[in-house]
Amino acid sequence: MAESELVGHVGYFLGLILALGLAWLGLSGHYSTLVLSLGTGSVLLSALLAFRLGILDRESSPYGRLLPLVAYWGWLLIEIFKANWVVIKACLRSDLDIDPTLVKIKTECQSDLAKTVFANSITLTPGTISVAVEGNKILVHALYEGYAQPDAFLEMDRRSRLATDGRTRT
């Protein structure tokens, strides 16, 4: 194992312990010695099991990209609320004026994590659902054809790529 790889593994291991510890402290609220030691034990056991399973890698613990991902989430929330408004109006209008369509959206995302973030962002936004992923194309079902032009997804594609992979060009 190369030295940089080993350093990376130790980093993921410590990051996982930190994240699990914070989650445990935030959810518990009991700080007697017994409960604290049980918590420490379970955090260490979970981290060791994750190491044994070989799932300690960049995709399972993307702590290094936490800030960009949180920033992306903030942008996505605004988009979600804008899209919600459209679907709410469609639900309440007396005559149904929906115009459902299936479109194929090409994505520039390379890594599986970036594709997952992009496809899940599409599903999370009301009015569009990712139906199937084939290579670098995503089949999207949309409530209105006008909101599902390929241009509408360019910004989301670019931002999810930037947040997960850290670069706009591939």
Binding site: A23, G26, L27, G29, W73, L77, I80, F81, N84, V87, I88, A90, C91, L92, D95, L96, D97, I98, D99, P100, T101, L102, A119, N120, S121, T123, L124, T125, P126, G127, T128, I129, S130, V131, A132, L139, H141, L143, E145
Partner: protein
């Protein structure tokens, strides 16, 4: 300064209650959409209002009503998990329907379909 703080503390429960009420109304609107929309895929769109906007407003309202930090942390955790899992569930449903060969109604066919004979 202390008057502003006092005012905020008085307004907080009312604001929390109002946000919860708004979230509940959005959940009802989502249900209305599920009942009115013509086919499987369009109904998923209506259900996603309940998943996103209604859940967010309800949880923010409950955050304002929460008595201590630990309740707030738990509510935030619930919110994060809803946002991580609901698109996975939505995609799984849509993908299962697509794989099973459920044809979506496209364009004006969805509109002109009589609301009486739903699938």
């Amino acid at each position: 300064m202390s008057e502003i703080l006092e005012f905020l503390l008085q307004v907080k429960p009312m604001l929390g209650g109002a946000l919860c009420l708004l979230g509940a109304v959005l959940a009802v609107i989502g249900t209305v959409g599920v009942l009115r929309f013509p086919d499987f895929y369009t109904r998923l769109h209506a259900a996603s209002i309940t998943d996103t906007a209604a859940a967010t407003l309800l949880i923010v309202g409950m955050l304002l009503l929460s008595p201590d930090v630990f309740t707030a942390v738990k509510l935030l955790t619930v919110w994060v998990f809803i946002f991580l899992t609901s698109p996975a569930a939505g995609h799984a449903l849509a993908n299962a329907a697509h794989t099973a060969g459920v044809e979506p109604l496209i364009g004006s066919r969805a509109r002109n379909r009589d609301e009486g004979d739903q699938i």
